[in-house]
């Protein structure tokens, strides 16, 4: 038990701290804190789903923001059409993301390495431009939501605290699910295909099917994050799917520590807090942020999760 605690203190501590946010938020500017933390949790959820692909599968998808966008647009379009039910939003978001993942994944998984990075980028861009073409839903400018998703006809998510807790619940559920997947038969094959695809084929596995399945799972989780994101910002626009957003998600995963899952959460916290602090400090905060990013890549190998748990490995 003690050993397990020592190994697991980081994810435990992370979730404990996140759970305390609604309790501590009233001590400061409550709505600001809750909105910032909701954003962090939602981005962490998206980054977590990406870690399944990059960390476990070795598949550097440069179009993950598209899946986030699918979720956001499911809320935006349905709300604009008068469907405000959160269950419907989620169902449509997940179904659309699954369709997108299967259609694009079937092509993308035939390539590897740099070509995979580029083709996922291309599919992301396709969806981005598709969103700008939705003139009925704001085109380039996007649409403002009439309100948050409802649950069984009641607007419980209107409370910032409830929305935050819903997001945190989704993050915890996704984290536990992905941990199980990582330790399952499926996860083992996925990691094997990352490390040595030829060896995997030589013992009888076709990496393609496993990678496609991982892509599917990852896209569906990211779509859930998109639904939450739309609710948090109250606004949906193509900018959610810009390739820079995909780049940021990759960075968050790498910053946190590839393949550790909780690293993605840590990365999201660090990334968004840094962005927030620096942007308060100066409008030209990116002049510091860019070099920080470079330094993180050059020197923080293993990511934040690696740095924090270095001494604790059994």
């Amino acid at each position: 038990m003690a050993r397990r605690l020592r190994r697991e203190w980081l994810p435990l501590g992370l979730f404990l701290a996140l759970a305390l946010v609604p309790v501590l938020a009233p001590l400061g500017p409550q709505s600001f804190i809750l909105s910032l933390m909701t954003r962090i949790v939602v981005v962490a959820l998206a980054a977590l789903s990406l870690d399944l692909l990059i960390g476990k599968g070795g598949l550097v998808s440069f179009g993950h923001a598209a899946c986030l966008g699918i979720g956001a647009y499911a809320v935006g379009i349905l709300s604009a059409e008068g469907v405000t039910d959160g269950g419907a939003h989620l169902a449509v978001a997940i179904a659309a993301a699954a369709f997108f993942a299967l259609a694009t994944g079937a092509v993308a998984m035939r390539t590897d390495g740099v070509h995979f990075i580029m083709i996922t980028l291309a599919f992301g861009q396709m969806l981005y431009f598709l969103a700008t073409a939705l003139s009925a839903y704001g085109g380039d400018d996007g649409i403002t939501l009439p309100g948050r998703s409802t649950v069984l006809g009641r607007d419980v998510l209107a409370s910032d605290t409830v929305l935050y807790l819903a997001a945190l619940g989704a993050l915890l559920a996704a984290y536990l699910l992905l941990r199980r997947i990582a330790a399952s038969r499926f996860g083992r094959v996925l990691e094997g295909a990352r490390d040595n695809p030829v060896r995997m084929e030589a013992i009888g596995f076709r990496p393609f099917r496993f990678r496609l399945a991982a892509y599917l799972i990852s896209a569906m989780i990211a779509a859930v994050a998109g639904v939450l994101l739309a609710n948090q910002t109250g606004f949906v626009s193509p900018a959610t799917m810009a390739w820079q957003r995909s780049g940021e998600l990759i960075f968050i995963v790498v910053l946190g520590g590839l393949g550790s899952l909780h690293g993605a959460i840590l990365g999201a916290i660090a990334f968004i807090l840094a962005e927030e602090l620096l942007s308060h400090w100066s409008e030209h905060w990116r002049i510091v942020f860019g070099p920080l990013l470079i330094l993180a890549v050059l020197f923080a190998r293993g990511g934040l999760a690696g740095l924090l748990t270095k001494g604790a490995r059994p």
């Binding site: 330790a183 499926f186 084929e201 013992i203 009888g204 076709r206």
Partner: protein, 249 residues
Amino acid sequence: MTALLRVEGLSKSYGALRVTDGLSLSVEPGELHAVIGPNGAGKTTLIHQISGMTPPDAGRILFAGEDVTGRSMAGRALAGLARSFQITSILPRFSALQNVALAVQARSGSSFRFLSPVDGEAALTGPARDLLARFGLAERAEMPAGALSHGEKRQLELAIALATAPKLLLLDEPLAGTSHAESARIVEILRGLTGSVAILLVEHDMEAVFALADRVSVLVYGRVIATGAPEAIRSNPEVRAAYLGEEAA
């Protein structure tokens, strides 16, 4: 009795270089068939083509009565063709046990299971531990495979190949770079397999080849110039001229 593996008229060229030139050979069930030949004779390319890693330009590969020429490497592996690589190919981040258990997993049930922990499946880890013990690697089971010695990695790779319960093992220089003791152990294990698993062995260690093989084929410039029992090959003048003679000189 029909051959387990029959290779007919296999050809492969890289540009002007004919690596495999109308090559034919067969492996009987349970037989250990060794392929020898000077460097550049096309031995590894032959293994690549039989295992499905490299598509041949022409010719057929029949395995267990079926034409597998167009099948993927994974498809052939599931049909019972296992292989080792000249340059050790393992999963260095996985433990030795996980490496072997994964190969067991390939043959036992669907791998599209997402929720139950694979390390807890006795049906996978049990046979994997047995295999590791057979290779004297029981003590190394929990070690990351990447941290094993070179010889241990070669043995691990053999254990992985055997874990897929193959009908035919394609071994590409399994003794290369192993210590004397390790290579003796591998030879012992291969001897124990004869009769139950057919083996196509590419190997430079002539002592091991002539001690183990039921039949030997000599490959020169992508062609089989002679096939026969070890003694017949040893005394074949053409072989001596093309190959063994050079070694002796």
